[in-house]
């Protein structure tokens, strides 16, 4: 047990003050999602790992946990992509280039890059799940020789909801990216795959011993994707998931993000599947 006498005065910190970051780029990229590029006060790096999140602050409204969408290999600024789904995010919609946004973090655990080196990376992104996974994708692309195959499965509700279309167009042209996209509700112009994301899994030819899967999507998606991966003979420890919870404080205190006894903001949001498999509240 941590005792008062074990804590030095300089260890105790103000945990709740944001750093004011300047919006240097902002663009509504779909009906619901807006992309932001932010700069720290002295232009320094945020210092994050792929998969981590920040607390975004809009004075007068409050704070919300938001995934970092850019790779740490991108220097000088970082990117967020925010779905307008709640009070705070609808206010953030009004923020444009030149505005200031409060940021705390980065928080939590991202992907353990050292364990991913040399491995085939299988990205499975459902809807807005592509936002945090884009950080990992771009990290792999920026350090391409350190990894094996890069397989990206991306599912969206409709073609209009596909995020980062220009980047996807570039991924499509690269020989070293295997990209598979599917939509649930195709429109007339859609010529690609149709169906939920799990329909993309049976056809994959995976190197069983070297594949690491990273899954992010709506809560309902995880169980089905994991079942499909298990039928491809992937082991539990080859699977990483990133979980959404109400991470209010980001520093392991406020209690909102607890998954049974685990604080999602401290031990997650990225978890190895073996670590959350025994937790009833996880998936």
């Amino acid at each position: 047990m941590k005792r008062l006498q074990d804590v030095k005065a300089k260890e105790a910190r103000d945990l709740y003050y944001p750093t004011m970051c300047k919006v240097v780029g902002a663009r509504q990229i779909t009906d619901l999602e807006k992309w932001y590029e932010l700069q720290m006060p002295a232009g320094q790096d945020l210092g994050h790992e792929p998969g981590q999140f920040v607390e975004v602050s809009a004075f007068g409204i409050g704070e919300a946990p938001i995934s970092i969408s850019s790779s740490p290999s991108k220097k000088g600024s970082f990117e967020l992509c925010i779905r307008q789904v709640g009070t705070l995010t609808n206010v953030l919609k009004r923020y444009e280039q030149g505005d200031m946004i409060g940021i705390r973090g980065p928080f939590g655990k991202g992907y353990p890059i050292e364990k991913l080196l040399g491995k085939d990376i299988l990205i499975i992104a459902g809807g807005i799940g592509l936002v945090p996974l884009r950080s990992l994708i771009n990290y792999v692309l920026d350090n391409r020789k350190d990894f094996g195959r890069l397989i990206i499965l991306y599912g969206a509700k409709s073609p209009a909801e596909l995020l980062f279309k220009e980047e996807i167009a570039i991924w499509e042209t690269r020989d070293d990216v295997e990209l598979h996209i599917t939509v649930d509700q195709p429109d007339e112009s859609w010529t690609g795959n149709t169906g939920v994301i799990t329909t993309l899994i049976p056809g994959l030819d995976l190197n069983l011993n070297t594949t690491i899967a990273a899954i992010t999507g709506p809560p309902i998606m995880y169980k089905f994707v994991i079942m499909s991966l298990k039928s491809k003979q992937l082991n539990d420890d080859q699977i990483y998931v990133s979980l959404e919870r109400r991470m209010k404080c980001g520093v392991g205190k406020c209690g909102h993000c607890q998954i049974n006894g685990v604080y999602c903001c401290q031990d997650g949001p990225v978890f190895n599947y073996t670590d959350i498999k025994p937790l009833e509240e996880a998936l």
């Binding site: 941590k2 105790a12 709740y16 004075f59 007068g60 409050g62 406020c254 006894g261």
Partner: protein
């Protein structure tokens, strides 16, 4: 043990003497049936015999509402709140309450140590007092005796209507320096006080009970009665969950950000934007509360995170009793084991 005798009539003089160190906070009557920790203005008003205060001492370390910053919407900037703390003596504190502070220390200072909590805590002294258990106290069942003195600087043990004063730390010794109305005696620990409410098992057998109780039928029975008001967690001395909210002034030019107590028993506690609720049903929340007290932190720290004050039970509008829930889980486990034995 350094021990003195102290007459009941001289306790107000002791409280006045403690005032030399700083603000003295002690239990006071509030209305006809309630007690509250308040700043002492008149030492004769301090209550020595009380069952429990409505709000625990945590309210003075982790205030129900705490301003974190002022902000300007015009300039999109903020001003931090610099917390300055004065020395405080907490007088008339029961052993379970002190134990709750030691647990809060762990919760607020392990991992990321929080400066406001640290500052308030650092400048504090504690003077304990023995108590007569009522129908709700069960702290002995979670390993906390009435005379448990860990964490205290001084402790008053009531013996034959007067007190023995134990000195437990150097800080305690300096608190009573120059106080004349005491004389050295041999310490005798009274063993006359009995707990009426008990958990049937020793607390070190409870982790096993909770290991297998997750799918118990008991949770549905509790959820049936629970009205989801959150009184149990707000009055719980070891609960520390909070929310952070912004308030905008009428001019809409500035405002403040504040931290407020929150409760995992409230229905929206684990809800995220878009409507997904990760603990949607009452049954999930009632279970979570008990697991927070007897399993999650306990697995790591080896101690129940319940101190047996009885508040959650005494103040529950629906009559839900925490020790009764635990006893029902024990009973259910015994039945399951019995059937298992018979079948084998």
């Amino acid at each position: 043990m350094e021990c003195y005798s102290l007459l009941r009539a001289d306790v107000p003089a002791l409280i006045d003497h403690l005032g030399k160190f700083g603000e003295v906070v002690a239990p006071h009557r509030k209305g006809d049936v309630s007690y509250s920790f308040e700043s002492v203005l008149d030492s004769s008003q301090v209550v020595l015999d009380y069952n429990r205060t409505l709000l625990p001492l945590k309210k003075l370390f982790l205030p129900p509402v705490e301003k974190l910053m002022d902000f300007s919407l015009k300039n999109m900037s903020f001003d931090p709140v610099e917390l300055t703390t004065q020395p405080r003596v907490f007088f008339g504190v029961h052993s379970y309450e002190m134990q709750s502070i030691l647990r809060l220390d762990h919760s607020m200072l392990s991992g990321n140590a929080e400066s406001n909590y640290f500052k308030r805590r650092k400048n504090s002294r504690f003077v304990g007092i023995s108590f007569e258990p009522d129908d709700f106290h069960f702290s002995e069942s979670v390993g906390i005796a009435i005379e448990e003195m860990e964490g205290f600087d001084l402790f008053l043990n009531e013996i034959d209507d007067d007190f023995q004063l134990y000195v437990l730390s150097d800080n305690g010794r300096s608190l009573i320096q120059g106080f004349k109305q005491i004389r050295t005696v041999e310490a005798e620990l009274s063993g006359k006080r009995e707990f009426k409410k008990k958990i049937r098992y020793h607390y070190n057998r409870l982790p096993r009970i909770f290991q297998y109780a997750y799918k118990s039928k008991v949770w549905a029975d509790v959820a049936e009665k629970c009205v989801g008001c959150g009184a149990c967690t707000l009055t719980c001395p070891t609960c520390f969950c909070f929310d952070v909210t912004d308030e905008v002034s009428v001019t809409a030019e500035d405002g403040l950000r504040q931290r407020t107590w929150d409760s995992c028993m409230l229905s929206t506690f684990a809800e995220v934007a878009g409507g997904e609720n990760f603990r949607e049903k009452t049954i999930n929340r009632t279970r979570h509360r008990l697991y927070r007290k007897f399993k999650y932190i306990t697995d790591e720290e080896g101690l129940p995170w319940c101190v047996g004050c009885g508040r959650c039970t005494a103040f529950c509008p629906a009559g839900i009793s925490l020790p009764d829930i635990v006893n029902e889980l024990i009973q259910e486990d015994e039945k399951a084991q019995y059937h298992h034995t018979v079948r084998v």
